[in-house]
């Protein structure tokens, strides 16, 4: 009986350790780059990118998406899609702002679904006029078959939600006549 209880407690501890072990790692920009969607319109203009609302990742916390990582993924996605002629750091014809307003992440679980909402605004830098605005919601589920360690699974779910979000945003933006 004693041995059975001992084995039971040991099993619970091992299972808990397996589910929670591993330090959180930040979401990677290259994993958030969207697959080029069918672009309706290609623009000759250049664009700059600014991101706010992202968070840093601490080793003991949850995996997060930082402003820099999302901005890099957004820049790479625009370049890959050919939606604008160039992505510049400054002096561009348009400024694309993305505000990561909502990151709904599970605290634990086997299948981890991250829901994300980003508000995008495109401003004509010469006139200061907002030419496009869109609130894009996306989600992605990472399963234990994708990664056994929970912190890695959460990072994969973050990256998937961000990838889907950028893809939707660029697909919508490509229909706008600038």
């Amino acid at each position: 009986m004693k041995q059975a209880a001992r084995n039971g407690i040991a099993s619970v501890l091992i299972a808990a350790a397996a589910l929670t072990a591993g330090c959180a790692t930040a979401s990677r920009p290259d994993a958030m780059v969207a697959t080029p969607a069918t672009i309706v319109r290609h623009n000759d203009a250049s664009v700059s990118v600014e991101v706010a609302g992202g968070k840093g990742t601490s080793a003991m916390g949850e995996s997060q998406i930082s402003n820099d990582a999302f901005a890099q993924a957004l820049r790479d996605s625009i370049q890959k899609s050919g939606l604008f002629s160039a992505v510049a750091d400054s002096g561009a014809n348009y400024k694309l702002t993305a505000f990561i307003g909502k990151m709904d992440q599970p605290m634990f679980g086997f299948a981890m679904t991250v829901k994300m909402e980003v508000s995008y605004t495109l401003v004509d830098t010469r006139s200061g006029k907002t030419v496009w605005q869109k609130d894009v919601a996306s989600q992605y589920t990472a399963h234990p078959s994708d990664a056994f360690v929970g912190t890695t699974r959460l990072r994969l779910a973050n990256e998937g939600a961000a990838r889907a979000n950028i893809q939707q945003a660029l697909a919508d933006l490509s229909t706008v006549s600038l």
Partner: protein, 138 residues
Amino acid sequence: MRRLIRIALLFPLLLAACATETTSRAPDVHLERLKTFYVARLPADDRGIQKLICARLQQLGYRSTWGDARTPPSPVDAVVTYQDRWMWDITMYMIRLDVQVRDGRTGAILAYGEVMRPSLQRKSPQGMVEETLGEIFK
């Protein structure tokens, strides 16, 4: 056996985290210009958190109403949405509250605030609402 029980009792301490507060505003957003609010009840919320948020906004000097619909019945400056997470540790407590302030016309998120408090630093739902809105509007 005792050693195993001690390890098992220590395990929750390893999982215990510190309270965290996070807030952010979209670039060029001026929350001080917002005067009227509508709090949209989260469909899954049966604890009345929307009423607490609405009451706190009124205490802060804003005109605020709440309802079940996602969109307000009449035009407002901002719509407030939220997600509350609960955990059990002896009793149920709110471990996390996320609040988003959205543009009343477009629905775009203007600002958000998040407060997470683990069991040992738990607050009442009113306290969580006060802290989260305090972070957003400070």
